[in-house]
């Protein structure tokens, strides 16, 4: 994570931050002795620290599952999305415009719960066990997702070769910030996060279909998320912010 937007002794901050983070590192897969499950339920649905990354895991898993025609893995991806609250935002970037609504339905970089369940049903092809699992998610999704959402997902944008999209978003001091792009395939969609003086904080070249930048703002302020298509083909993406 990059500490950004002011001069500060980075090494000292790094140690303080590491102490704070590590002390509360709740991922504790190894916390259960003998590989056991942690005894206390540390539900992540309401744990903001994981929301955006959980959504990215679900997208990665969903793509892998569709490629392998693995219905059970699609169900697992759908369960993550169902349990992870997020809000939709209607930001339109400078230099960009939303993909046409009808066209957007054809290829969605960010798969929603409905998209996942539809694909799972199609691939399940009448398998009763799988259909039961799929129906369970559909019925239980409201119960799975709980807690406040600090993660937002934009609409779909098309970015032609050479084009640059710029989003301006405020972020709060001391709150870890994450921006991620989910493209409709591997390509050359580069994402740069810059502060209000246009100083680059993080760049992800976006050679995979998912790019991610995280940083820790030291001051309240506006940050620029710059999405650039440096390839030869048009690309389509959603932006996720936390």
């Amino acid at each position: 994570m990059t500490v950004a937007n002011a001069m500060f002794p980075r090494s000292r901050l790094f140690v303080l931050l590491a102490l704070a983070l590590a002390a509360g590192f709740p991922d504790g897969a190894g916390a259960g002795s003998d590989g056991g499950v942690p005894s206390s339920a540390s539900t992540s649905a309401g744990d903001e620290r994981y929301q955006l990354d959980d959504l990215l895991v679900a997208q990665d898993l969903f793509r892998l599952a569709v490629r392998n025609r693995d219905v059970l893995a699609i169900v697992a991806a759908a369960r993550i999305v169902a349990a992870t609250p997020f809000t939709r935002i209607e930001d339109v970037p400078e230099g960009g415009y939303a993909a046409p609504a009808g066209d957007a339905a054809a290829a969605k970089p960010f798969a929603t719960l409905e998209d996942m369940l539809a694909d799972a049903r199609r691939l399940a092809a009448g398998n009763a066990t799988m259909l039961t699992l799929i129906d369970d998610i559909g019925e239980g999704s409201a119960a799975l997702a709980r807690g406040a959402s600090a993660t937002s997902v934009t609409g779909i944008f098309d970015v032609p070769p050479g084009a640059v999209h710029v989003f301006r978003r405020p972020f709060r001091a001391g709150t870890p910030a994450v921006a991620a792009i989910v493209a409709d395939g591997p390509g050359v969609l580069e994402m740069t996060v810059a502060d209000d003086r246009d100083r680059a904080i993080c760049t992800d070249e976006g050679t995979a279909s998912i790019g991610r930048c995280s940083w820790l703002p030291l001051l309240d302020g506006e940050f620029l998320i710059i999405v650039r298509n440096t390839g030869m083909s048009p690309l389509r993406y959603n932006l996720l912010l936390h």
Binding site: A18, A45, L64, R79, L133, E190, T207
Partner: protein, 224 residues
């Protein structure tokens, strides 16, 4: 299929377009990542396992076990060039073994017949004794310390390094080329980090695993 034939040509063109002498970063900018990479699958599986444990979701653990079982690994002797030596036994890392994941799933599934059946099916399908690429080493990094490894990768062949910790602390992964140029910095709030790039020329890379926490963390280091 077309990509399979076009990819080497595209990489060659990209390689010609970047400086090949030492001093320029040893990576081809914007080279597409191979999407079906096995380490990527392990990364997704480990993230899914972590999510499943946090959310007490047996189905996630079952799917993670299936994905991990489908990606056999070859053990490799340590190649650590800086950092504390590793203990001989690191059982903490067994949390990613398919059998352990399925055991956890079984405890969470309790008496659910459908999930129990899936666990049995998966356990029977887990391949045993398969040896294949990619490779991995087991390591332990002390609190607030870093381990440094050296790997040599071939020119134009996509390189992947993946760190998979036991969940004790936050681990970050950084890659530098032989001149110290940053190649990748993976720094999620997690101990499962992946770096993928395509070297412009054959050469050594420093792989740095940083433990940001106040206690040691055991981890697998894997490469293609």
């Amino acid at each position: 299929m077309i990509f399979r034939y076009l990819a080497p040509i595209v990489l060659l063109v990209l390689a010609v377009a970047v400086p090949s002498e030492a001093g320029g970063p040893n990576r081809i900018p914007h080279a597409p990542v191979v999407p079906d990479d096995k380490l990527r699958q392990l990364h997704v599986a480990a993230d899914l396992a972590a999510w499943g444990r946090r959310n007490r979701d047996p189905l996630a653990l079952i799917v993670a076990a299936r994905l991990i079982a489908g990606t056999p690994l070859r053990e490799m002797a340590g190649i650590k060039i800086e950092g504390e030596p590793n203990p001989e036994v690191l059982t903490a890392l067994d949390i990613y073994m398919p059998d352990v994941l399925l055991g956890d799933a079984g405890r969470l599934a309790a008496n659910d017949p459908l999930l129990t059946e899936l666990i049995v099916d998966t356990r029977e399908a887990v391949p045993r004794g398969v040896v294949a690429r990619p490779v991995r080493s087991r390591n332990l990094v002390p609190a607030f310390s870093q381990d440094v490894f050296e790997y040599v990768f071939e020119a134009l062949e996509p390189a992947t390094i993946y760190v998979q910790g036991m969940g004790a602390t936050n681990l970050d992964l950084a890659i530098e080329d032989e001149s110290g140029n940053p190649i990748c910095d993976a720094n999620r709030y997690s101990d499962r980090e992946i770096c993928q790039w395509t070297p412009a020329r054959q050469g050594p890379f420093r792989v740095i695993v940083k433990n940001l926490g106040p206690i040691p963390n055991a981890y697998y280091l894997m490469s293609n």
